[in-house]
């Protein structure tokens, strides 16, 4: 049977991708950001999954605003890196896992989640920057990826609790897939940031660190955070953090924390990063 072995959370700032692609990771500005990812790059060498279910948001590269699905699952054999206005990132094609994606879609709709199926889409920095941060600069990605795109842009986004419930359903769906697969789930985006208007540049270190504490510890409060509270406290784009809740809920009730990192800033954004694994049954 398939096993959900770990969860990774990370911000997906586009400038981080540019710093990697342009060889600036050791510049004074970027060095402390990338130092926070050295641990995961070593860890994943021994813990390379067969498949990553990667929760991210499309930044008007493949769907928004022509279609605005609340949850969209990538079904394709392959996803090309998108050209976001200055040429596509020089990163490998992302290969999907249509069999597990099909199983997930069936199970999730049976569980009352009205999932949109994407049979063709390009993937932008929201998906490829986390892959670069964890797997480094490689000629091919070492794992298959099932993109799960979440609407975090157009109000109303799914609620924190809805994301939590989806994560739980994903956890159950993975566990019922008959093939022996090592599966990880990643939640990306955040942490606090605002990319618009006179309030742009908002960072809320207290909110971010309380959010990280609760992901590791008592999670009930996280499900009650309203959209308005995310927007007020974490900035208009900080609401991307709902995608971390899908990841966390999929891992089950208790987790062990393997790695935690927080840094301000990367461009306009607070960078947060966690590596978690489901706690052993006692």
């Amino acid at each position: 049977m398939a096993r959900l072995t770990a969860g990774v959370a990370t911000s997906h700032v586009p400038a981080i991708g540019a710093a990697i692609d342009l060889g600036k990771t050791q510049d004074d500005y970027w060095k402390p950001v990338f130092a926070g990812y050295e641990w995961v790059k070593q860890w994943v060498k021994d813990e390379t999954p067969d498949v990553v279910i990667l929760c991210y948001n499309d930044h008007a590269s493949a769907m928004m605003l022509d279609i605005v699905p609340t949850f969209a699952l990538g079904f394709a054999e392959e996803f090309e890196p998108a050209d976001e206005g200055w040429g596509a990132r020089p990163v490998p094609t992302v290969f999907g896992h249509p069999e597990l994606a099909g199983h997930l879609a069936e199970q999730l709709v049976l569980d009352e989640f009205d999932i949109t199926i994407m049979n063709h889409m390009d993937v932008d920095h929201g998906l490829t920057v986390p892959l670069s941060l964890v797997f480094g600069q490689v000629s091919e990605w070492p794992a298959k990826v099932i993109p799960l795109a979440v609407n975090v842009t157009q109000f109303p986004t799914p609620s924190a609790d809805r994301c939590w419930q989806l994560g739980e359903a994903i956890g159950a769906a993975v566990a019922s897939f008959p093939e022996d697969l090592n599966v990880q789930i990643w939640g990306t985006g955040g942490m606090s940031h605002q990319l618009q208007g006179p309030r742009a540049g908002l960072i809320n270190r207290e909110f971010d660190n309380a959010f990280l504490d609760k992901l590791i510890g008592e999670t009930d409060d996280l499900r009650k955070i309203t959209r308005l509270e995310f927007l007020r406290e974490a900035g208009s784009e900080g609401i991307e953090l709902i995608m971390w809740l899908i990841m966390r809920a999929a891992l089950g009730q208790k987790v062990d924390m393997l790695h935690r990192f927080y840094h301000v800033p990367a461009s306009n954004t607070a960078v947060g990063h966690l590596v978690l694994k489901p706690a052993e049954e006692s």
């Binding site: 586009p14 400038a15 540019a18 930044h59 008007a60 590269s61 928004m64 605003l65 605005v68 998108a82 050209d83 976001e84 206005g85 200055w86 040429g87 842009t153 157009q154 109000f155 606090s192 605002q194 990319l195 618009q196 208007g197 006179p198 309030r199 742009a200 540049g201 908002l202 960072i203 809320n204 270190r205 207290e206 909110f207 309203t226 308005l228 927007l231 007020r232 406290e233 208009s236 784009e237 301000v264 800033p265 461009s267 306009n268 607070a270």
Partner: protein, 141 residues
Amino acid sequence: MTQDERPAPRQRLYPLEDLEDIPGTRIFTARRSRQAYHLHKFCMSLMDKDNRDAFRADEQAYLDRYRMSDDQKQAVLKRDFGKLIELGGNIYFLVKLSNTDGWSTEKAVSSMTDLTPEEYGAMMRSGGRKAEGNRSIRDKS
């Protein structure tokens, strides 16, 4: 349907008007999304190199291909990102325009504030804009 048979109003956790209570922030609602649809189509078109070249060659003529409002076209020509947000835009597609210009996202975002790019960069390096005083217009908190 008589008055008594009308469904009860749904309970909400807060009045949606509260979304307008965050200082210096415009929430990208479904209605604003529709207002910006053609602006978005223009921005999405810049994901293609030939289109970027055509836009650079004659910006006004290129913009006239899209059913955007004149205000939106003027704001594009002026690279007035703050105005584009007011006119329904969202940063996730507006960055296609700033990327086409070779701007960093930080530069595009900083242009919406009252800070120069240098002042904005310094603010971010010193921890960003504080949440205190920037949460609520009504409560001045």
